[in-house]
């Protein structure tokens, strides 16, 4: 399982820079002294306050709550539909876009209110293999298992 994967030169690689694979898969963002948070660590300055060099890395929780979602029925070739895309709010005060897994798309459309504020947790898995043969690891969220 990817959850045991280590980020080495020959090992798996994250699909986006804010997914860290070690010591176990988690998301990491950056936080400006003004309080604004960002996922992408490569940033010139804070777009809320304008200050540069006031960023600190923030390890983000594995658990969050769904804010809103959509069910994608039409996409690009090779992408399996339908799937649920969601905006997940994390307790640190940042929102993340990701797929929602283990949620039936038809059921979500039928009862959208049951998806709002749904507690979810981060999961990772191999999404593709890159040109150099590395496994590419993506993340998604699934309903929290008690």
């Amino acid at each position: 399982m990817a959850e045991q994967a280590q980020a080495t030169d020959t090992g798996p690689r994250p699909i986006v820079p804010w997914l860290k694979l070690a010591p176990k898969p988690h998301l990491e963002g950056i936080k400006c002294a003004c309080g604004a948070m960002y996922l992408d660590p490569k940033r010139v300055a804070c777009s809320k306050c304008g200050e540069a060099d006031k960023f600190k890395p923030v390890v983000l929780s594995d658990k969050g709550k769904v804010y809103v979602f959509s069910v994608v029925h039409q996409s690009y070739p090779g992408i399996k539909t339908p799937y649920v895309t969601a905006i997940v709010d994390l307790p640190e005060g940042i929102s993340v876009r990701a797929n929602l897994t283990d949620v039936d798309p038809a059921q979500a459309q039928k009862e959208p209110h049951k998806i709002f504020d749904l507690p979810v947790e981060l999961v990772t898995g191999v999404a593709a293999k890159d040109r150099e043969g590395h496994d590419v690891i993506a993340f998604s969220y699934r309903p929290t298992k008690n």
């Binding site: 699909i15 986006v16 604004a36 960002y38 996922l39 777009s47 809320k48 804010y67 809103v68 979602f69 959509s70 069910v71 994608v72 029925h73 039409q74 996409s75 690009y76 992408i79 399996k80 539909t81 339908p82 799937y83 895309t85 969601a86 905006i87 005060g93 940042i94 929102s95 993340v96 876009r97 990701a98 797929n99 798309p105 979500a108 459309q109 959208p112 209110h113 709002f116 999404a127 593709a128 293999k129 890159d130 040109r131 590419v136 993506a138 993340f139 998604s140």
Partner: protein, 386 residues
């Protein structure tokens, strides 16, 4: 700043023109606008051209190479879906500032069947996130804008669907519209889902089109209008997305619209109750619903009630505060760069009782507004008055 008026407008029917080029489509609209203004390309002092999908290819100059190479300054504008309206604004600014007395704006696009937009990217395809780490496609992004309203205010799917029914009904009276078929509430609700909650009829089509406008100073208006009624540009506002909590994850199409709307009403010295018709950016039915509130046509959380009471519907159909009597993007079509100029044409036609809006004329139209959102984001609002 000087007063600026729209002396002429031109638009070709939105649709599919695979046998024509972008400069030809734009050139046709430009000639229609010049003829409507009663002037020639030789009278035009500057030209702002809006086109998105060939924005690196000097479309404005290539239009002049079709209709008259007079050597005037040309600006090629790209600003997502607000491309055409931003070009119009550049022309407006050049006349308002006193740099030129006559300026031309053209918006043109040839999309073919490109549709989902967003979510694409370069590099090793293994690292493309679309469908693996959520979706950036437009149906999903604007779907979530509607879902957010549903979450906050309990808005129902029927509310979004009713917008599409209304749009299609309006379009039957517009010969410039790409689609002119009526659809029932059942048709819309039962149509193929594209990006929940937007079904096929709640998504704007893709297509080709062009629209043009000639803007003039007050002196030139007196000289050239010949007693014809012409609309004044009472406000020309452009905003970008300010920092909001989720904007970088879920594009916030509301905050920049609200800012633009406030500025536009202030600049024009009127309020939403004075607006006889609104053309707004209904790229998806979910977008139109949130913009009712963003533009002050109803209070926050009241969009559902507004729809249920006939809000947005043409008065001849028993409605009030008509929105998108042209059919809107949902039915008239949304050739990206053309949209912003076409919306202004529609408003102008109602204000000046132009024959081109004869079948759908909004009565007693003294003021109207045209709103556009380009995701990324840019928002324009133009208020026109007579």
């Amino acid at each position: 700043m000087r007063n600026v008026y729209v002396l002429g407008t031109g638009m070709i029917k939105f649709g599919r023109y695979p046998d024509k080029t972008v400069p030809q489509l734009g050139g046709e609209a430009a000639l229609l606008a010049l003829k409507d203004a009663g002037i020639s390309i030789k009278d035009v002092g500057m030209f702002a051209c809006g086109n998105l999908m060939q924005s690196n290819a000097m479309v404005g100059q290539r239009i002049l190479q079709q209709i008259g190479q007079t050597g005037i300054p040309v600006i090629n504008v790209a600003n997502a879906c607000a491309t055409g309206s931003t070009a119009f604004r550049e022309a407006y600014i050049s006349v308002a500032a006193g740099m030129y007395d006559i300026a031309m704006a053209v918006g043109v696009e040839q999309m073919g069947k490109a549709g989902l937009l967003g979510g694409a990217g370069g590099g090793d395809p293994a690292y493309l996130t679309e469908g693996k780490v959520g979706s950036g496609t437009m149906p999903a992004v604007f779907g979530q804008a509607g879902i957010e309203h549903m979450r906050k205010y309990g808005t129902k799917l029927e509310h979004f669907a009713k917008i599409s029914v209304k749009s299609h009904k309006h379009a039957t009276k517009n010969p410039f519209s790409q689609y002119r078929n009526e659809v029932s509430l059942e048709d819309v609700m039962n149509a193929r889902m594209v990006g929940y909650p937007n079904t096929l009829y709640m998504c704007c089509p893709t297509g080709d089109g062009a629209a043009a406008a000639i803007l003039v100073s007050e002196d030139k208006l007196k000289q050239l209008a010949g007693g014809r009624k012409r609309a004044k540009v009472a406000a020309s506002i452009l905003t970008s997305d300010p920092w909001t909590d989720r904007d970088l994850t879920l594009p916030d199409v509301s905050t920049l619209t609200r800012r633009a709307s406030k500025q536009a009403y202030e600049k024009a010295g009127i309020g939403p109750k004075d607006i006889a018709l609104t053309e707004l950016h209904d790229c998806f039915a979910t977008a139109e619903l949130v913009h009712y509130e963003n533009l002050g046509l109803c209070g926050d959380g009241e969009a559902g009630k507004f729809i249920d009471s006939g809000g947005g519907v043409h008065p001849s159909l028993g409605g009030h505060d008509p929105v998108n009597v042209s059919g809107g993007l949902l039915s008239k079509g949304h050739p990206l760069g053309a949209t912003g100029v076409a919306n202004i044409c529609e408003v102008v036609w109602h204000l000046t009782q132009d024959d081109r809006a004869k079948e759908r004329q909004v009565p007693n139209a003294k003021a109207g507004q045209a709103h556009v959102i380009g995701l990324g984001s840019a928002c324009t609002i133009h208020i026109l008055t007579v």
